[in-house]
């Protein structure tokens, strides 16, 4: 009997995947720009008729995160949520992407004659536009989107060490804390009148302009902190670095707990609200761009060489010590930036936030998304943030579901979902569907 069920199940699975593949084949030649246009239309649709449609299908509001939380809260709304998702997202995206693929490919082709920078800017503006209007519907979405983008920065920077360099570093929450505290002190001291640092020293209108300075300052302090870990620990490898970096994380935490000037365990609050969507978006794009270029540069290749065999790399004239040092400081810098942004989104930090749980979260994002891969880190950070937000109604079962998911990923894809893949921006913007290019596609995959 069970055998029969299994074989029937397998048959159903095979037909389902067959259908999906067939269905997806319609969309293989849809360029990125068409997808973005389709999403813009969807978002416009949601803004104009989302509320009315939600009422019509029996929901009180458009679901914030694709209806998962809604269904988990109230399974009876399953049908309504599905109908809403199909009518607002699935159907328009599919139809418009399908219909505009011809024009989209022509535009993509036409954009090819311009420098890559222009093409990127066009795409980025579209992406930002979609995000801006998508998050304008609900502040909850806005907050989730901002936190997810910060996760991207932090995850990417950890991937430089844990993925590209192949070491296991645990000090990322410490670097985030350094960045968060330095930039918070900077902005609160200069631009906010509060009971900790007294009157604002500079007029408030300068604040948003000085915010990048505070972030970069935070990044540099983090990098300096990383130097402190690097000097004693890079003579060691593997487990020893993990332990030293873990110790560093606790040192930073204790440091801020014992520093009465910055509030001790009570932390700093009242950070000005500078980290809005576009600020974080710009920083995230910068982080992805710079980190991607870094890992694809000679330095990045040297890093991979060090990971795969330090002795061999050194025999091939790679300066292993310097390579490791630069990568580590570079990663710490970006973690510091992420921490600074984080502090200005939550607008409150305390040492306890940057503890072992933050570490577990960031590590989970890196290994979930995939080692040695920029795309993987983006997928990991966004995916993990969304899953953990959407499953909130499950309470304690969320902490059963997520670990099981991670275990399964570790069994079936030990290096993460999208590991060891290069992130080629130029290829992303290419027109799709030509025979020769498809060949390139497969090779890259």
């Amino acid at each position: 009997m069970p055998k029969k069920i299994i074989s029937v199940g397998k048959k159903i699975w095979a037909t389902m995947t067959g259908w999906l593949k067939k269905f997806w084949s319609n969309f293989r030649d849809v360029p990125l720009i068409s997808w973005l246009v389709a999403f813009s239309v969807t978002v416009a649709l949601e803004i104009f008729i989302g509320q009315a449609l939600a009422r019509m299908v029996g929901l009180s509001k458009p679901p914030a995160l694709f209806g998962v939380a809604l269904v988990l809260d109230n399974p009876a709304k399953f049908l309504s949520a599905i109908i809403y998702m199909i009518l607002v997202y699935g159907l328009p995206v599919g139809v418009i992407a399908y219909l505009t693929k011809g024009v989209g490919n022509q535009i993509a082709e036409w954009l090819l004659q311009f420098p890559l920078l222009l093409t990127s800017v066009v795409h980025l503006l579209l992406i930002y536009g979609v995000m801006h209007y998508w998050t304008s519907i609900s502040d909850y979405r806005l907050l989730v989107a901002r936190l997810a983008m910060i996760s991207i920065i932090v995850t990417l920077s950890l991937n430089v060490v844990n993925g590209y360099m192949g070491e296991f570093s645990c000090s990322h929450p410490g670097f985030m804390a350094l960045g968060a505290y330095v930039s918070s002190i900077f902005t609160v001291l200069l631009f906010v009148t509060d009971n900790r640092f007294g009157d604002a020293l500079l007029p408030a209108f300068l604040g948003p302009f000085m915010f990048p300075v505070s972030l970069v300052l935070g990044g540099f302090v983090s990098a300096a902190g990383a130097l402190l870990v690097a000097i004693p620990s890079f003579r060691t490898r593997g487990d020893y670095l993990a332990i030293i970096s873990l110790a560093f994380m606790f040192i930073v935490k204790s440091l801020f707990e014992n520093l009465e000037v910055v509030g001790g365990a009570r932390g700093i609050s009242n950070q000005p609200d500078y980290a809005n969507l576009w600020t974080i978006f710009v920083w995230t794009v910068l982080a992805i761009w710079i980190i991607n270029n870094f890992v694809r540069s000679t330095m990045g290749k040297a890093l991979n060489a060090v990971r795969d065999g330090e002795l061999a790399a050194s025999a091939m004239t790679v300066n292993t010590q310097k390579t490791k040092m630069v990568a580590f400081l570079f990663a710490a810098f970006w973690a510091g930036i992420g921490g600074g942004l984080f502090a200005h989104v939550i607008r409150y930090i305390n040492p306890g936030t940057f503890g072992i749980r933050k570490l577990a979260e960031v590590l989970a994002m890196v290994y979930f998304g995939g080692l040695n891969s920029v795309t993987g880190s983006i997928v990991g950070a966004v995916g993990f943030s969304l899953i953990s937000e959407a499953l909130r109604p499950l309470d304690i079962f969320k902490w059963i579901f997520i670990p099981i998911m991670l275990i399964l990923i570790m069994i079936y894809r030990p290096t993460g979902l999208i590991a060891f893949r290069e992130f080629d921006v130029a290829q992303l913007f290419q027109p799709k569907g030509k025979k020769d290019e498809e060949g390139v596609d497969h090779a890259a995959a």
């Binding site: 319609n26 449609l53 009422r55 019509m56 299908v57 029996g58 009180s60 509001k61 914030a64 939380a69 049908l79 309504s80 109908i83 199909i86 009518l87 159907l91 599919g94 139809v95 399908y98 609900s138 502040d139 909850y140 806005l142 907050l143 989730v144 936190l147 009971n195 935490k253 204790s254 707990e257 014992n258 001790g264 365990a265 009570r266 932390g267 609050s269 009242n270 984080f342 989104v345 939550i346 607008r347 409150y348 930090i349 305390n350 040492p351 306890g352 936030t353 749980r357 937000e389 909130r392 109604p393 309470d395 304690i396 969320k398 902490w399």
Partner: protein
């Protein structure tokens, strides 16, 4: 061919939608109260206490409230904040924009209540924290309230009590520097004590870090400093260790505590070593009277244990919100107007009789309420020894 398929699919969905429209009725306005609690993470017991108390309240009112002659169904939206600061903020954001709650209860600990309070204030939704004692939670936030008294009241109140009761002049303090509640309270106690006895009268100000279990070095220092007693605003599990170790090291002077001692577990862990000690508290679960008795007995019967202070404070918080809604007089259905109305009512609540004492609220959002000094008797029974009230 393909377009035809898509067309058919669209048609099907439109029909499905129309059918659903027929079955979906216009919902009657519901009063939604959000509960933002740490059901998982570092302090699940605290979240559980709050959740249970809130559910008990819902049961007590029978799931509906009568406002201005009309009954409205009441719904609790309980969300888990994993005892993380960023989650607490997103939960509040979700409750405000997605669930459209009328008011929010929680978060409990200050590290979540401070960022969540910011979200509630920006979203113009009344929020009442039943546990947070950090002044920043409500500072300059007209939409944020709390039900426990502040550390800046409790610390000096304990200092005053010890001075009057024992006539001591030299104090020691032992606290956890990594946890914000003990740290804040220790600071305010020190301040209060030095206001009475002058600079340098706190002869030992010793700290440890969360998770430590050996306090002998700190206790020895306190003993050698000549302190006549020491104040330790720690949680009950640490209190048991601290008191036992102090007695073993020959420190036989009194040890005084704060509201975090107020758990039924304290005496089970500490035993005879804790007999004869004093601590300040919001309420006493033993020998309750009146409404408190009803609450405590009902809770114990339902969930199998005596509620801790967080349960009692949440219970009061729910009733305060209920009263604010009642005083509001009507539910218009316009969520923004209703929220404003509830906030204004909250800021004007006078002499609310709760399980944890009588409270009066002001625009600042902090209650004016009395603290109880509890004495643990020589037979292990707890009794109210004294009541200290803020000066008018």
């Amino acid at each position: 061919m393909k377009t035809k398929k898509i067309f058919r699919l669209t048609l099907l969905l439109v029909i499905a939608t129309l059918i659903c429209t027929a079955c979906g009725q216009a919902a009657q306005p519901t009063i939604k109260i959000g509960v933002n609690a740490p059901l998982t993470g570092d302090i699940p017991k605290v979240g559980e206490g709050s959740k249970f108390a809130a559910e008990m309240w819902l049961e007590e009112i029978g799931g509906e409230l009568e406002v201005g002659g009309q009954t409205y169904p009441v719904e609790l939206v309980i969300e888990d904040n994993e005892s993380k600061a960023e989650s607490a903020a997103s939960v509040n954001q979700k409750l405000i924009t997605q669930d459209e709650v009328l008011a929010i209860v929680g978060p409990q600990s200050s590290k979540q209540a401070v960022p969540a309070g910011g979200a509630a204030n920006d979203g113009q939704t009344p929020m009442v924290s039943p546990w947070s004692t950090n002044p920043n939670t409500t500072l300059n936030r007209p939409w944020v309230f709390r039900t426990p008294f502040l550390d800046s009241f409790q610390g000096p109140a304990v200092a005053k009590f010890v001075t009057e009761e024992f006539g001591f002049t030299k104090a020691g303090v032992l606290y956890d520097i990594a946890s914000d509640y003990p740290k804040g309270l220790a600071d305010y106690f020190k301040q209060g004590w030095e206001d009475i006895h002058g600079e340098g009268s706190v002869v030992a100000f010793e700290s440890f870090t969360t998770g430590d279990t050996d306090f002998s070095a700190q206790i020895t220092k306190i003993k050698e400093s000549g302190a006549e007693f020491f104040f330790t605003p720690q949680y009950y599990n640490e209190v048991a260790l601290i008191v036992q170790q102090a007695r073993e090291l020959g420190f036989n002077q009194p040890i005084v505590g704060s509201d975090s001692w107020g758990s039924a577990e304290l005496l089970n862990l500490c035993g005879e070593d804790c007999y004869g000690l004093f601590y300040s508290s919001h309420y006493l679960a033993e020998n309750p009277t009146g409404e408190a008795k009803e609450f405590i007995e009902g809770y114990e019967e339902k969930y199998g244990y005596v509620p801790d202070d967080v349960g009692a404070l949440t219970w009061d918080t729910m009733h305060i919100i209920e009263r604010a809604i009642n005083e509001c007089g009507e539910i218009t259905g316009d969520i923004e107007a209703d929220r404003t109305c509830v906030r204004d009512a909250l800021a004007n609540i006078k002499n609310f009789e709760g399980v944890t004492g009588t409270m009066t609220f002001t625009e600042e959002g902090d209650p004016i309420k009395c603290a109880l000094i509890i004495k643990i008797g020589d037979d292990g029974s707890k009794s109210v020894y004294e009541q200290t009230c803020p000066e008018e």
